[in-house]
Amino acid sequence: MTATVQTAPGMAAPVSKSLWALGWQRLKRNKVGFISLWVVSVYLLIALGGWFNVVGGNWLNEIAVPYAPPSWVGASGADVMPADAYDASGVESSAPIVTLARQEDPIGKELTEAEKDAGRYKVEEVKKRESLPFGADLRGRDVLQKTLKGTSTSIFVGIFGAVLALLIGTTLGAVSGYFGGKIDDLLTWFYSVFTSVPDMLLLLSFAAVSGRGITTIIMVMALTSWTGTYRLVRAEYLKLKSREYVQAASAIGASHSRRMFVHILPNISHLLLVQFSLMTVALIKYEAILSFLGFGVGVRQVSLGSMLAEAPSELVQGYWWQMLAVTIAMSILVTAFSLLVDALRDALDPKVK
């Protein structure tokens, strides 16, 4: 053994940092990015809580009077309530439209029967609340609960849609870019046809034929938004497949799939992460649009979009709190996510030589 040992100054450190660890370090130094990360984490926790009905699980309960104003608004909010609003207590209906004698009444017999038994059932007298911290909607449901649940739904739709779209885009892009030739021609043709239809139109047509519900929204979004990822991944594979380390892998006998997924894929993973975050934000917004247009979640489900859909009719009457809650929840989420994406892109761009 005669070769000279050349030891760099940093060589003494026993544990070394992977590119991911270095990226994490960079992210931590970026103040804005780090705060956004915390905000996004809180949102993700809410989403998770919403999924297991820990957070916002009771959003369907009608616990307040319709359009109960936020408590901090006080009486001013109550002013706008129309005087002839439907009285929820229902004990004294002021003006019955028709009065019929029991005998003439076609259902008189059943009514007498029912009244006889009525005493046996204790009707829970729920005191409907006059105000809630964030107000209530048309049916007296808590806007806070509703927003939490809605946020959860939106985030889930965004994340799952993005994951699926990423899977489709990455697989097709990898195959297309790596193998090239006829396969690439075919897939690129398919991609071109797909992208020639305007995004929103495609989304709406898919949504129109597949009915409502969270699962369908996710499927629809995945099917329409893989194209960006496909283009990106294909380009990266085209570039990386001729890199020397991939050639070296081929020279040592690595198979095609090993080169594609063990050698190249980790080297574009930072791009995929950024792409994923970007797409999640975009899909959250798309979901809002879809639900707003009535192609979104089902009637027994709530999302930020479906809440926004109720906003126009409420605003005309002066009930602005649901709109406000949704706007705040959504803008903070989208802003934080976008800032996080920016920070991630800076942090993960490998600056290694």
Partner: protein
């Protein structure tokens, strides 16, 4: 004395703020002078701070992370450049001080014609009108020896060859008759014959215009031929300053001696090349014995290539096809434990030969018999077993290792793919032994490629090949990207491994001195064809072909002592 100095650098100290908040001292207080009408060569390896010095003179250092010590001075005709304002600097750059960069391709703007780019300098600094500038451009291009200058002025950078682009860069630099020309590794990216032409051109222009030239290079050989004074730098410190004669004839500093010796020489071939440590340690350097080279009649031939050809087809128009023959009818034999060197300039097809043999390119003609079996006509499945026995080391150690793999993963992957070793534990053990063999510490196993220097990465690449115990190693420009001192270490390592394991090397390089050092037989290629093939000593002493002779005469010889030549 100061009267004669065009530029004086006094106590120049430059720090870079690193991302982690630490400071890196790039220049630790250097001082030297550039006298009027002389050429000063600044020599050093990567990380020596030579380019930082030139950037500091031009004030091109990135301002967001650079700290220049307030006590530093760069006096140009008595004016301190470090205190100039933005507009004063702009007036100075290009007019008084001009610069030529290493990569002519990326220094020229691809969307403007070269004529326009030169004219821009003239209109900005010399105040010429458009038509006057155009006329001057043609004069300048004639002066730098561009063929058909009037027509070439309207050409875009990509329509010119590398050498022509560098000529354009030089024309641009001398356009305003600068007093100081800074040439930052102007010939590193060029072929050796072109390098010679460019160096001669710079020397000629220096004399004609009476400029001072600051010539920055890593190659002492280049320096000897035309510099007046030499400054040797290492790690941000000046090791030695002197005239060319002093530096080459009687170097005082151990590092200078090492630099002079670790380049392979054309006239001798030591058993091992000198490395820097040989000079820095006590006792000094003792020249080892000469190594004998050449094929012997009873050598066992393991690779017999016959009529190898490779052509690339490109579509031209709707139905047309353009066929480019990268390699035409190449035949050679390689013996066990011997080295065949393939030399040639860029575009000679030497790399293509290497790549077709590991089937990273499919050959279009010929046979390659490895132990009597044609590896070119095998099915991919059959060839899989042979991949283990024929390995390749690439040129760029920064690109040939997967940045997301640890060294441990890099080394165990080939063993896993070829079922070498029974389990992961055994493979890791073998990997550790190999790391030690190539001269890297054991803790390198858990590190990522980006933590290593170029030379260390090339060792990792070598270790990766060794995991499979190959018989034939193709070294494709494997030491070209390395500093001379590191190059010597890697060449020594390759030689040791050959002696130990009886490896055969196909050594592809544009560097004739390196090929001469390591090869038993040398094959000279030009434009895809074999020009000449013979034992290494024969070909260098008695070249038969004109092309070989031209190639050999272009090698920078360092400073040639006239007394020795006369004797």
């Amino acid at each position: 004395m100061t009267q004669d100095n065009l530029l004086s650098i006094r106590n120049l100290k430059v720090n870079f703020r690193l991302e982690s908040g630490e400071r890196f001292e790039a220049l630790k207080g250097i001082s030297f002078d550039i006298p009027k009408h002389r050429t000063v060569a600044l020599v050093g390896e990567s990380g020596s701070g030579k380019s930082v010095t030139s950037m500091a003179i031009m004030q091109l250092l990135p301002s967001n992370n650079t700290e220049v010590d307030p006590a530093s001075e760069i006096l140009f005709n008595g004016k301190n450049l470090l205190t100039l304002t933005g507009s004063e600097l702009r007036a100075m750059r290009g007019k008084d001080v001009a610069m030529i960069f290493q990569e002519p391709m990326s220094s020229l703007n691809p969307v403007f014609t070269v004529g326009d780019q030169i004219a821009e300098t003239l209109m900005l600094h010399a105040g010429l009108g458009r038509s006057a500038a155009k006329k001057r451009v043609v004069e300048l291009l004639t002066e730098v020896g561009l063929p058909d200058p009037a027509k070439k002025a309207g050409a875009y950078p990509h329509q010119l060859s590398g050498g022509q682009q560098q000529r354009v860069m030089i024309a641009m630099a001398i356009a305003c008759e600068p007093k100081l020309l800074i040439a930052d590794e102007p010939t590193t990216a060029l072929d050796v014959t072109i390098q010679k032409q460019i160096l001669e051109l710079i020397a000629k222009l220096q004399k004609k215009h009476g400029m001072s030239v600051l010539f920055i290079t890593h190659d002492l050989g280049v320096v000897g031929e035309f510099a007046d004074d030499v400054v040797v730098m290492r790690h941000g410190v000046i090791r030695e300053t002197g005239t060319v004669k002093q530096i080459f004839d009687a170097p005082k500093d151990a590092y200078t001696k090492a630099l002079l010796n670790c380049r392979p020489h054309l006239d001798r071939r030591p058993m091992r090349l000198a490395v820097i440590d040989d000079f820095l340690r006590e006792g000094g350097y003792v020249e080892p014995a000469e190594r004998q080279r050449g094929y012997l009649p009873d050598d066992e031939i393991i690779l017999d290539v016959q009529g190898l050809g490779k052509s690339f087809e490109s579509r031209e128009g709707l139905f047309g096809k353009h066929v480019f023959h990268a390699v035409k009818d190449v035949s050679f034999k390689l013996a066990r434990g011997k080295t065949l060197g393939i030399v040639g300039e860029s575009g000679s097809g030497k790399t293509t030969v290497g790549l077709t043999l590991v089937r990273l390119h499919e050959a279009t003609a010929g046979k390659a018999l490895f132990h009597g079996k044609d590896i070119l006509s095998m099915s991919p499945r059959e060839f899989q077993d042979y991949k283990r026995r024929i390995q390749i080391i690439f040129q760029n150690p920064y690109a040939s290792l997967n940045p997301r793999f640890t060294v441990g993963q890099i080394l165990t992957e080939p063993m896993m793919l070829h079922d070498i070793g029974t389990n992961q534990h055994e493979r890791l053990q073998m990997a550790r032994e190999l790391l030690e063999r190539v001269g890297l510490p054991e803790n390198a196993m858990f590190k990522y490629p980006h933590e290593f220097s170029g030379g260390q990465r090339q060792r990792i690449a070598i270790a990766r090949c060794l995991t499979m115990k190959p018989e034939l190693l193709i070294c494709d420009e494997s030491v070209s990207a390395l500093d001379v001192s590191v190059q010597a270490q890697v060449l020594n390592l390759l030689q040791d491994l050959q002696d130990e394991y009886q490896l055969s090397y196909l050594f592809i390089s544009h560097d004739l001195a390196v090929v001469k050092h390591i090869s038993d037989q040398v094959m000279v290629m030009n434009k895809g064809e074999v020009v000449e093939q013979a034992d290494a000593d024969d070909i260098y002493l008695r070249p038969k072909q004109d092309y070989t002779r031209r190639l050999l005469s272009s090698i920078p010889q360092g400073w040639v002592n006239e007394a020795i030549v006369a004797a």
